[in-house]
């Protein structure tokens, strides 16, 4: 009941006229970056970050998180209407969303997507409401070894469950760690990995990495996709919306299952993209109408959308209560928290009650605002898709350049961004995941500090990581996840026919 009381207090903070206005602005900007190819939630939020430095932290996080919700919804709009996923996590929505829209039911497809997305988000927020404070309380007893074990589990789950080639995931993750280590070492004060470039002493800001990897990289990828806009009508019939939402409970089982998958992947952190694909695959396997998947089956929209939004929302749970972001965008937001002078992690629930509960309450309201706004603005944003790419591309490039520069008024950052852009392009092309790289860039330092502090406690013995039940089981779970891909590969070798299916 304590949580409900705190939540009500949070509503008092979140539901004010200025904060509602911020939500509207955030959601609209979010839909914009979600719709535009080459701009996504992680770099949209990064772009906005320097502009929030003068704000109250709670207002700033409401703006940024609303942008995140908007981007999640915006990505689905283009998936359904144009067969172009605006966000990686809405790729699975194109499988059935676009066929349904093409068959003359765009409103039904959009309403199905938004209805199930809202449900997924709701489950995620409820989970945060009731679990986050409890997790934070448990985490208060954590020492460095426990924290390192949790970080280890998070990184291992990327490798084991991220859905990308495990070694490529490991390389991407480690590059993130190396980037995080550049500059002054927080423990010893030594300067590391600057390779003779003095300006690198301040380190490489994660925003610069995000701008390049996601912004420039995605632009380069987008040049190759031919934008054949076989658009379908983008008019929204509100009666059809109501009718569709009313039929959603028919997919109740699929929605609950997808929400569970989404929350699990959001917390652990496998991320929204992996969650939506996994949920789609499982729905297809379990459905009695699995033959209809890929041809406009409603459940093929419900499953990825519910999981996508459940994962996107619940990714904020570990960020708030443990200081471990569950997705790339959450990692950027956590970077913001640190810049605003807050310390993400269990102490947040004690020291910054207004911030935490204001944010959680704003998630309820923000998602409602997002659903209404996205439905109301579908025709406008759909029209935006008709702005030619040759005009959008240089504009996005200029925005990213200015964004990278304004982080710390450094031209070196702009050059680094361009370099990250090339890396982002190559990585996307060759299915190296980018989210682990960003995550490691943001929390690499903390993971390393936790490891070194543990080592100091144990005087150099690794035995500290099995010294009690909690840390031991966390490490064991991490190891299982790490070895999971190996085991799967081994099984596949034994049953070669399975791969051919």
């Amino acid at each position: 009941m304590e949580n409900v009381e705190a939540l009500m207090h949070g509503f008092g903070i979140a539901v004010t006229v200025p904060h509602l206005a911020l939500m509207v602005v955030g959601v609209l900007l979010g839909i914009l970056v979600g719709v535009l190819p080459g701009l996504g939630a992680p770099n949209g939020v990064s772009l906005l970050l320097p502009l929030t430095f003068g704000m109250q932290p709670v207002s700033a996080i409401i703006l940024l998180s609303s942008m995140y919700w908007g981007a999640l919804f915006g990505g689905s709009v283009t998936s359904i209407l144009f067969n172009i996923p605006g966000e990686p996590s809405s790729v699975a929505t194109t499988f059935d969303g676009y066929p349904m829209a093409r068959d003359g039911r765009p409103t039904t497809a959009l309403a199905t997507a938004f209805g199930s997305a809202a449900f997924g988000a709701l489950v995620g927020v409820v989970l945060i409401t009731f679990l986050a404070a409890w997790v934070a309380k448990a985490a208060l007893a954590f020492g460095p070894p426990e924290f390192f074990a949790v970080y280890f589990l998070a990184f291992a789950s990327f490798i084991g469950m991220g859905g990308f080639p495990p070694i490529k995931t490991l390389v991407s993750l480690s590059i993130g760690f190396a980037i995080a280590a550049i500059g002054i070492d927080t423990v010893s004060g030594a300067v590391r990995l600057t390779m003779g470039v003095d300006e690198l002493v301040k380190g490489v800001n994660f925003i610069v990495a995000v701008m390049g990897l996601f912004g420039i990289g995605e632009l380069l990828i987008a040049t190759e996709e031919s934008f054949q806009l076989k658009s379908v009508s983008s008019r929204v019939d509100w009666r059809e919306v109501v009718r569709t939402v009313a039929t959603l409970p028919r997919h109740g089982v699929a929605m609950l299952r997808s929400a569970a998958i989404g929350c699990w992947m959001g917390i652990t952190p496998g991320g929204p993209t992996a969650a939506s694909f996994m949920s789609y695959a499982i729905a297809k396997r379990l459905s009695r109408r699995s033959q209809a998947f890929g041809r406009g089956e409603p459940e093929g929209i419900v499953a990825p959308e519910t999981a996508d939004h459940a994962a996107g929302t619940s990714a904020l749970l570990p960020m708030l209560s443990l200081g471990i972001p569950g997705s790339a965008t959450a990692a950027v937001m956590m970077g913001g928290l640190m810049i605003w002078g807050l310390n993400p992690g269990p102490m947040l629930f004690i020291e910054q009650k207004d911030f935490v509960w204001g944010l959680i309450a704003s998630m309820y309201v923000g998602n409602i605002v997002a659903v209404v706004l996205v439905l109301a603005t579908v025709p406008i944003f759909a029209a935006l898709m008709r702005v030619p790419f040759y005009l959008i591309a240089p504009l996005i490039l200029i925005i990213c350049t200015v964004g990278a520069y304004s982080v710390s008024n450094s031209y070196l950052d702009v050059l680094l961004m361009l370099g990250f852009g090339v890396v982002g392009y190559l990585f996307k092309k060759l299915s190296y995941p980018l989210a682990p790289l960003v995550l490691a860039t943001v929390i690499g330092d903390k993971a390393e500090d936790a490891f070194r502090q543990s080592m100091l406690m144990s005087k150099g013995s690794l035995g500290i990581f099995v010294s009690n039940g909690l840390v031991g089981s966390l490490m064991a779970a991490g190891l299982v996840l790490l070895l999971l891909p190996l085991w799967l590969q081994f099984r596949r070798l034994q049953v070669p026919s399975e791969e051919q299916r």
């Binding site: 390389v171 070492d185 010893s188 390779m195 040759y390 005009l391 200029i398 200015v402 702009v414």
Partner: protein, 155 residues
Amino acid sequence: MISRRFLEIATAVLTGTFGAAVAISSLDNGIGWSTAGVEAGTFPFLVGLIILLGSLYNLVRSRLDPPQVSITRADMRALLALFLPAAAFIAAIPLLGMYVATAAYMLGVLTFRRGVSRLRALVYAVVTPVLLYLVFEWAFQVSLPHGLLGEILGL
């Protein structure tokens, strides 16, 4: 035309070189155990080593890929058409400053585009830096670089 295998190899070499550089550079900070605990270079050294080993694995693995075209000639042309002007734009910033470079970049990209009139290109080239100025310098008081040109003009 560039094959997938070539891209895989190039990327693995790139990441591997980075990993090696990280590992070697961290030797300066000391690796291993000292009286002050784990030395500063240890963690980056291990990370660099993992990157290097992972890249070697990816390099070997790439030989198993079927030779398949990944970037066609047309793709390459589109890529370079975006990347080269962008690189030129970024290279011009220290000289021309953000605003003039932006205008030149927009004008350059749009003039070379078939189906865009000179007038429209000019309008975009003027409007974009003005918007940048209004949003950054005026509304959020973030100063963008004025470049060598700005210095000469005394801005």
